[in-house]
Amino acid sequence: MPTPKTTKETPDRVTSLLHGTEEAAFAAVEASREGLSAEEAARRLEKFGPNSVAARRANAFVELLRKFKEPLVIQLMVICVLSYFFEDNETKKILSTSLVGGMVFFSVFLSYFQESRSAQAIAKLQAMVKSSCLVLRDGVETSVPIDEIVPGDVVVLAAGSIIPADCRMIQAKDFFLSQSALTGESMPVERMPLPTIDTPHSAQECPNGCLMGSNVQSGTGHALVLATGRDTQFGAMSARMVERKDATAFELGTRSFVWMMIRMMLIMTTLTFGFSAWRTGRPLDAFLFALTVAIGLTPEMLPMILASCLSKGAKSLARMKVVMKRLDAIQNLGAMDIFCTDKTGTLTQDHIVLQRHVDVIGRDSEDVLRYAWMNAHYQTGLRNLLDRAILSRTDLDVERSCRKVDEIPFDFQRRRMSVIVDHEGDYQLICKGAVEEILAVCDRYQIDDELHTMIPMIKDEVLEEYRSLSAQGFRVIALAYRDFDRSREVFTAADESNLVLLGYLAFFDPPKETAATALAGLRQRGVRAKILTGDNELVSRKVCQDVGMPVSRFMGDGINDVLALKAADVGISVDTAVDVAKESADAVLLEKSLLVLVDGIDEGRRIFCNIEKYIRMGASSNFGNMFSVLGAALLFPFQPLSPILILVNNFIYDFSQTAIPFDRVEDDQIAKPRQWNISGIRGFMLWLGPVSSLFDYLTFALMWFFVCPAACGGSWSELSTLAQSIPNLKPGDLSPAQLQFIILFHTGWFIESIVTQTLVVHVIRSAKVPFFGARASWQLSLTTLLAVSFACWLTFSPWIGGLGLNGPGLGTTYWLALTAMTVAYVTLAHLIARPRLQAA
């Protein structure tokens, strides 16, 4: 078969092909009712590309460049340029430029690599839950991944199918579509094959069109694919506008935290500039200082930490056979406090057996089995577990004497379906479905071979059998039939009336052995489980009793899970679910077991805990630094730390945090749902910040009154007086002794600041006693140790001249005092943090 001449199907062309004749549509895509051959389909796939609307990922370089557009990176680069031009000291100039460059590297490259790895991991995992659909290939119904559908394919559709491309109906039976994703309209619309359409319609309104993005609510049909991928209406729409998803609670919380920090930074920077300019009399230096302080107060590692935590979490979850379709939904797993589940296959074994087939008064009936078998055998819609159970019970010889005349497919409004069978000259409609729905359309019932009039009171009587079976834990459906004369050829749902109630089919799906354990596990983790099931209360009650939980309310199952999945904070489906349910879910379980979910919840909580650690750390230390820097700028006639040292400090601090995603989480921290608690963060900030600041002030006092005067031969005021007697020293310039005083002051605070800022992670990571009661992972312990060691080494290194540090000059008093202050700080911070961590 040749490739169609049209190389680019546009949405307008789709509309035109829907209006024209069916022959014209087939001709345009050069296909027939039998579909394409496998070879031709492969050729077209090569030509048209995969049937996907996902935006093509920009190349790596462009992606990387985009990172430089981030406000934080721009801020860093501006500071880098300003430092370069305004810094007089050549060594400092090179150092500060390199340091800011290093921070840009951290901010840009690390988050880029983490995000790339996450994207690759997600793509790999999503490939594991690829949706497929039935198409005619070489005239045979074949299951094909949706992204391999090509123009000219004939797709076979049934209730629950996703419409994989823009199609034209060529065959339909009571076919209803939900187009809510395309039009926002929740009511299903009917679609049918039409020779032509005379009145102009949009493609979405064409009664013979079914467009990508919609799904089949009920009925069966065949449709010719006119356009695929980005050539579809849905694809064009996606290309025009970036899909905007509602932000999750976590995203909102993160944004709120970031804005809080930015507001703090702006206030802080302005005040610092003002105070510093006033006290030092050097506005340019003050400006440079304020800019670097702004860097110090910005949580520039947050995107990297988030990307790293979520990526690591997605991989851990995949090992547990949970595939996350949206990375940012991972923490929602941990935040889950109510778990709504269906029953079949989740709480039960999903191994449904037809246990009984009885007449209306509960006697075993072969007629009921025979009719049920014919109904299941001839139906072409969504063949569910009940049909399979019926078919496995017997195998009737229908080929010789029976012929299927028509079918009235299942839908969730009627909750029943029928087949019409021609048997030796008679037409019989055989209908099965929910008991209440079948009874509503029966006016007679059968006992033995006698038909009797059904009156309301008798309905109550015959329902008794149904109630009794349900109370025993059986899932019960009813079976009814009606004779028709042979003049009828086409049947509709209206023909499901005046039926004869034949009996009931009782199915049993035993509870899973693991269900009770898993539900107990959820309870222990503070997650309340609710069953949402289409089954009646009696069956649900029985299953609930078996798995140790109370009965919930009626809701739905199967395809109508979709709305629940969309509405849920995190929608979870299983790999064997209908396509539309899988597509709507945030996570897909490769194993239909709640135990997997329990593990997933733990992992989600671990990830959230680690993200929280960074946020608590950032909030409290930044708030503390704000007090310290502001106070120092006001108190001292020099900047408490040079801009270059602030950058070095920030660089080392950032490095120490890179291991947070790898930290272990204590069991008590994952015992209950973890949700964003901005007031908790604020509490941490308001209590731990001032504590951190208190030790900064103690350090200032130590340096100002003891260490610096002892090393420099006098207090600052004495040195200032002496400076006036130095010849050739211009007014405003500092004497060598004063410079030495400042360098020592900077060194003392630099070390104390690094030590307290980095060690605090061990305090806020758990309510238990740091280092003894709860130990951090080796990765976090190592980065902390390296950060502290590196900071101390730096003060003794050959770079001290360039950086303005003087470790050797600090003296024993300083190191002893630092040790005591660190122990005191960790102790006090632990005492303050513990109740807050316990309450979190």
């Binding site: 017997t394 009737l396 029976c402 033995d448 006698e450 009797h452 009156i455 309301p456 009587e461």
Partner: protein, 182 residues
């Protein structure tokens, strides 16, 4: 309808002077309990009330069939009839008062017979113009005649309505079919 005929022939047709549903149940229940074949202390009234709670037993406008089902007893069905000239507020879905209460005592093994009796009664009432013929009666004798007419109609017209013509298919082959799981 043979059980209704038995009741009429055995003189178990009464005029109800009671005006409430509960009192009517008490009376008819006691009449049933008085039948020698029905075991003593079988709780007929309580069973009738329990059934009524599960669903109203009005059959057609003006007619109700309260009944007591019992398990574990092998016996025949028994019936008694109460007539109320003024009608009893029965809480029927149609809101109409009930003039005729046909009360049954049904051992579980007789469910089929009971369902057939009910369908036959409903069919006879519908085909003879409904409850109007009973409403127009002034004496118990007239009621008895009308009820006998119903029985005659039902027995002459026959119940069931029709015989089912079921599709009969055999299994493909006994060896290949899966084993029965019952």
């Amino acid at each position: 309808m043979r059980k209704l005929l038995d009741a009429l022939q055995s003189g178990r047709l009464f005029e109800l002077t009671e005006t409430s549903k509960d009192e009517a149940f008490d009376f008819l229940g006691r009449v049933l309990e008085a039948i020698p074949e029905i075991p003593d202390d079988s709780g007929v009234v309580e069973a009738m009330r329990a059934r009524e709670q599960a669903g109203n037993t009005s059959v057609s406008p003006g007619l109700a069939c309260p009944h007591a089902r019992v398990e574990g007893i092998t016996a025949d069905i028994y019936c008694t009839v109460g007539w109320s000239k003024d009608g009893i507020d029965y809480g029927a879905a149609d809101g109409q008062k009930v003039h005729l209460l046909v009360a049954y005592w049904i051992p579980d093994c007789q469910r089929v017979a009971f369902l057939k009796e009910m369908s036959g009664l409903a069919k006879a009432v519908l085909s003879t113009g409904g409850i109007e013929v009973i409403r127009e009666c002034d004496t118990l004798g007239e009621v008895r005649h009308r009820l006998l007419d119903w029985v005659t109609v039902a027995l002459n017209e026959g119940s069931p309505d029709v015989r089912a013509r079921m599709l009969k298919l055999s299994e493909k082959s006994t060896e290949q079919s899966p084993p029965a799981q019952n």
